[in-house]
Point group: C2
Chain length 480, copies 2
């Protein structure tokens, strides 16, 4: 087994570095395809198909927590919408994952200054015992400080970490913000904490809308109650801790694991006329967190990819390769849909021409980067040239990660782009009640559709491939 693996790795390295046979020919996008892509781009910029799709999803389905009744309605909506848009092939692929449910959540400071707190339980949080859980709060300044904590100082207490995110175009504070949310509860649980609280991983510093998100609990037996306070509530808790008296908090979380659930990725295809089995893979995730209606996360991504497919569908003839639009299941609680897709299609990595997913809101795409074989760099430059006039800069030094779910297929060897959106305000609304349709600027969404339609079409028409093969790009350092 070992030697087989090594020889596969060697083969993929050869492919990736372009030493092997056919890869010595440069991939090129024919002039006619560039021209059509330019027209697609301009049409998309003035088109509202994407906005209408996300309006439909968020209005007719609303919040779509994975495994909830609304999750099923979301799939029905996606199937119907693909068909309504005229996709050639619409199908589902099942995805099974642990079911986690939210029923209610309440919290209050009990002492020294009794008052309610606004919070939201995190995914895979345990519930509290009936009647709630009251314990003293112990604050840590960072995840590192918690890691070094003496278990005796934590046992039976409610651990709190107040990491504060700031607004950035690339949202890089979410790296630590999400670590505090995912790793923090696991560490606290191991140290014997009764529960875990954090300042929301969100940049809306003045809003009482706590941000949920998944924890790192993978086994219900390890889970403790874990929840996020809104930023003003975190401020209030910290102010009260500042009085130097013991602060006790009561948590009443009716949430928890409840067996498993089988949902599905919903897939729509515009069938390629020349190489129908070769696919350009784009998509978004269909599930959302439940406090909002999942407009920017990730109704926008589903809409961008569906609308891009629809624009290509409306061309006089089908593209050479298939455009596959995937509405992924349960991205939020751990890339379940993306992992299921990658596992199922791993052997077909080489048939995935190029791919990337939209899952960072609806702000304009401002940067493109790619993980492709060297001989395809010229084709990527051709794509970049079409996207440059609508504000997309090509960063040659960064890898392309493929986006959240499709990062998994990239991990299996699919050549991938990163199409980075402006995330300045993304973490104001991410995973909270304010993720609603009004946060989407129809013109910015249209720019995204233009980017996806143009690149997808050019990739579908390319003469040559981008280096996809099982095991390719295994260590390209892609970030997303």
């Amino acid at each position: 087994m070992r030697s087989l693996r090594l020889s596969l790795l060697t083969a993929s390295l050869l492919l990736a570095t372009g030493v092997a046979g056919a890869a010595t020919t440069n991939t090129v996008i024919p002039a006619g395809a560039v021209q059509t892509a330019t027209q697609l781009r301009d049409k998309a910029m003035a088109d509202d198909t994407g906005y209408k799709i996300v309006e439909s999803l968020t209005t007719e389905v609303g919040p779509r927590l994975a495994g909830s009744p609304a999750d099923q309605r979301g799939r029905e909506w996606a199937i119907a919408k693909f068909k309504e848009l005229g996709f050639d092939k619409v199908y589902t692929e099942t995805v099974t994952y642990p079911l986690w449910e939210r029923h209610s959540e309440h919290a209050a400071i009990v002492a020294p200054f009794p008052q309610p707190l606004s919070l939201i339980a995190l995914g895979y949080s345990a519930g509290t015992p009936k009647g709630g859980l009251t314990a003293e709060v112990v604050k840590f300044d960072s995840l590192d400080a918690l890691k070094k904590a003496d278990p005796a100082s934590v046992k039976g207490k409610i651990v709190y970490i107040g990491y504060r995110m700031h607004r950035q175009k690339d949202g890089h504070d979410y790296g630590m913000g999400s670590a505090v949310r995912t790793q923090g509860p696991v560490i606290a649980s191991k140290l014997g904490a009764a529960a875990y609280l954090l300042r929301s991983a969100g940049t809306d510093e003045h809003s009482r809308t706590p941000h949920t998100g998944v924890t790192g609990f993978t086994d219900p037996k390890d889970a403790i109650p874990a929840a996020a306070l809104s930023n003003p509530d975190a401020d209030q808790l910290e102010r009260i801790l500042g009085y130097g008296k013991p602060v006790s908090v009561k948590l009443d979380l009716d949430v928890g694991f409840n067996g498993s659930y089988t949902g599905a990725n919903v897939i729509g295809e515009i069938t390629g006329k020349k190489y129908p089995d070769q696919v350009v893979a784009i998509g978004g995730h269909l599930d959302s967190w439940d406090p909002g209606t999942g407009a920017i996360d990730d109704g926008a991504g589903v809409a961008i990819a569906m609308a891009a497919g629809k624009l290509i569908h409306d061309l006089p003839q089908r593209p050479d390769r298939t455009i596959r639009v995937i509405a992924f299941a349960n991205e939020e609680m751990g890339l379940w849909g993306g992992r299921a897709y990658a596992d199922k299609h791993a052997a077909e990595a080489g048939k995935h021409q190029l791919g990337t997913e939209s899952d960072f809101g609806s702000g304009k795409v401002w940067r493109m980067s790619a993980s492709v074989k060297p001989e395809a760099r010229g084709a990527i430059e051709q794509i970049a040239k079409v996207l440059q006039p609508i504000g997309v800069a090509y960063d040659t030094k960064r890898p392309g990660g493929g986006g959240s779910d499709l990062s998994q297929m990239h991990g299996k060897g699919m050549a991938a782009l990163s199409l980075t959106q402006d995330g300045t305000y993304y973490f104001d609304y991410h995973h909270n009640a304010n993720d609603t349709l009004d946060k989407i600027d129809p013109r910015e969404l249209a720019q995204n559709v233009a980017v996806y339609a143009a690149f997808s079409y050019m990739a579908a028409q390319a003469e040559g491939d981008f280096g996809s093969a099982p095991g390719a790009f295994a260590k390209d350092g892609a970030e997303d």
Copy 2:
């Protein structure tokens, strides 16, 4: 009785127009007092007493719904704070009002697109039957349209009005916004509606934080369930109504009247050394709505008045007249504290030198107007001259209303100012969960304290009065 009333009215008109005896002498503020007031103003601008007070109230007590356990803690806080600040006299005056309680509230669209709605029950709303109430929504474009509705079109339905407020410096849209909230439910009830919903009377168009506030129900027998949707939820409901299918909503409101409650106005005084029984009356209201911590409504007002009193207290000697700072009970559900104060002190209207309450947030004071006798206009101009350098314009054409609770004492004959604050963002946070300490700019709050300290001191030192007398200013058209 009738002739007596007429002669009282005549007397008050004479006083108000300055024809009667002593009123022919102009009221003047001595040069020394103007100088001290100028120093007070400048000291206050650089002082954080006001901010520390509102920080203390909102942190140590938090939300203070009238009649709740926190309302009692609020009184205890106010008594202790007045004493801590060194006020000469601290006392309470009881205020009795109907007790209304909020336990929980949930709502959801049942058909055609099931999903939860963010809403908050309104003050004096009835609760729904156990298990909730489900009915079809009927939308009206305005309060006027509802008034003209055929009862048959409303009976058994949930009436909805979607009046949309916009941001303004003077917040004038709240006139209609509050009418839709107070009168709408009463009209809907009379027409036989099952319940009433409105778009929140709030300008935070992108925030899922519904705004509560009182209705016009005065008798529990007339009350129906009444609640406000957040702006994005109102958008969503209207979008769904736009599909043209019947829309049914389930309301589950555990709220309602529960007998009566006796609270109190809490009063602190800096005793005048020359005319201790003559008072300059300033204040704010101590109660707040419950979703936020009552920072801008009206912790700020309480803090501004308390801090102004404290700054005058710290002068080398007591002012000539008493500075009376009143922390009113239950302003929110119908000026209960203000009306109790005015009823109790009606006969002493003439002893109230001048007064006004702060109850429009913590934005800078930008306009002053006054309802005083003509012979006191010169003194008002002297006050205006001291306030002009910190951004306050004197509007000679508008009356002075005395603010929310003290409007009632003005109605009894107290000369009054209006000190209008910049309310551009006030209705983003008013009566909702986002009314928290972080909304207060300490420098803007300090400007308010400067205004209150300077005017109060000058009024206390004036040679002569401002025309207060029982029944004076009965019809001056004061707005607030």
